[in-house]
């Protein structure tokens, strides 16, 4: 009887120590509180070489901690949909005009970095950062893993709006996101 009680107690203790969520052993996405309950909407500008496309980007974190995003132009025509999960970026939809292997490769890489080092670190951007001296989210010079020198991700806050910018000098791609306030949406 005593042995059973010990077993049950141990089982209860172990259960109570189970991590909050464990969708997979290699799960890498942290909880991003800003997008965990409601999607966040950004005014988005994508500059690719000499081409400039504006629109809206919605980003939200799902219950399995994957981070999903949709980019649409002002008229509602979708540019792309992505899901970032377990450290991997998946472009689940891309509009036919952009459906080129090279474009997809660059977008996947840069969106992956934007989510990993920008969206995931939204909470690190403070009002004290300005457009003149933004918070550099990537690269962190103290982190030897941050070795993609052509890519910079920075952010700042102004009038309660979060500004996030990725610049990829190698492929001349810039993604600018400016969060929208609830009364604008």
């Amino acid at each position: 009887m005593m042995r059973y009680l010990t077993f049950i107690s141990l089982a209860v203790i172990l259960c109570s120590c189970t991590p909050r969520i464990a969708p997979g052993a290699d799960m890498k996405n942290p909880v991003v509180s800003e997008i965990a309950t409601e999607p966040m909407h950004f005014r988005a500008t994508v500059i690719f070489g000499d081409n400039r496309v504006t629109g809206l980007m919605g980003i939200r974190q799902k219950e399995d901690l994957s981070i999903c995003g949709s980019f649409i132009n002002e008229f509602g025509v979708k540019g792309f949909d992505f899901i970032y999960s377990n450290g991997k970026m998946n472009l689940v939809y891309i509009m036919p005009a952009l459906d080129r292997m090279m474009v997809k490769k660059i977008l996947k890489k840069d969106l992956s970095m934007l989510v990993k080092y920008g969206i995931s670190d939204l909470g690190m951007i403070r009002e004290s950062e300005s457009s003149a001296s933004p918070k550099i989210l990537y690269p962190n010079l103290n982190n030897p893993k941050h070795n993609m020198k052509a890519v910079t991700i920075s952010g700042y806050k102004t009038n309660l709006k979060t500004n996030l910018t990725l610049k990829d000098q190698k492929y001349k791609l810039t993604i600018e996101l400016v969060s929208m306030l609830p009364d604008e949406e």
């Binding site: 999607p39 005014r43 939200r60 949709s70 649409i72 509602g76 949406e185």
Partner: protein, 215 residues
């Protein structure tokens, strides 16, 4: 006999559609369809200018989300369309005789509509939809007409592969008596949908040419 009856029932139900509001739409065929098309076209021919407000709802299925935009549209013969978004942020789009100009965040860019087939087609759909000139879209879309008595829904399916890769289906909803458009619904292959509700339509009012100057 039983089989013939079954086929009749299937055909009858296949020609009936029920929309989200529960309205039952029956397919217009033969002379009824031709009469409506001709009346719609005749009405569109009389339109020299059109001003309206709109509310655009874009569903994002991946995010279980909806983005709402609001603004105004101004059309003036021939082929000038100004689309002004006022919320969630200001954005202007002008189609002026084959030239597209946009203004976003204070930045103006202008280009030939031929360089953006998507925008050109979108403008064509919007102008034809606003005016009610569905005949001009028949070269690009298979169209069918349905009515619930007070409204006529025009269902358009793209004919070309290129267009079908952007639009799965476009539905235009017209008032059956005034022939004015009340909504434009665009379904994408991805499953997302954009619905533009058209309100406060003013036909043939004075629209100054200066309205179409973006600076």
């Amino acid at each position: 006999m039983k089989q013939i009856f079954s086929v009749f029932i299937i055909i009858l139900f296949a020609s009936i559609q029920v929309d989200a509001q529960g309205n039952t739409f029956n397919k217009l065929e033969g002379s009824l369809k031709e009469t409506f098309k001709n009346n719609l076209y005749a009405s569109s021919e009389k339109i020299t200018s059109l001003e309206c407000t709109f509310i655009q709802r874009q569903t994002l299925s991946l995010l279980s989300d909806e983005i709402i935009s609001k603004g105004t549209m101004t059309y003036k013969k021939t082929e000038r369309l100004l689309w002004v978004y006022k919320a969630p942020y200001e954005f202007q789009f002008l189609m002026n005789n084959g030239r597209i100009t946009t203004k976003s965040d204070g930045k103006i860019s202008s280009f030939d509509s031929g360089s953006s087939p998507l925008m050109k087609e979108l403008c064509k759909i919007m102008v034809a939809g606003l005016k009610g000139d569905t005949k001009s879209l028949e070269s690009s879309f298979e169209t069918s007409y349905l009515s619930n008595g007070s409204q006529v829904k025009v269902i358009m399916s793209p004919k070309s592969k290129n267009l079908a890769s952007i639009f799965k289906q476009i539905n235009l909803l017209f008032d059956a008596s005034t022939f004015l458009v009340s909504s434009i619904e665009m379904a994408e292959p991805s499953g997302d949908k954009t619905t533009i509700a058209i309100n406060n339509v003013k036909i043939n009012g004075t629209v100054n040419d200066e309205v179409f100057d973006i600076h």
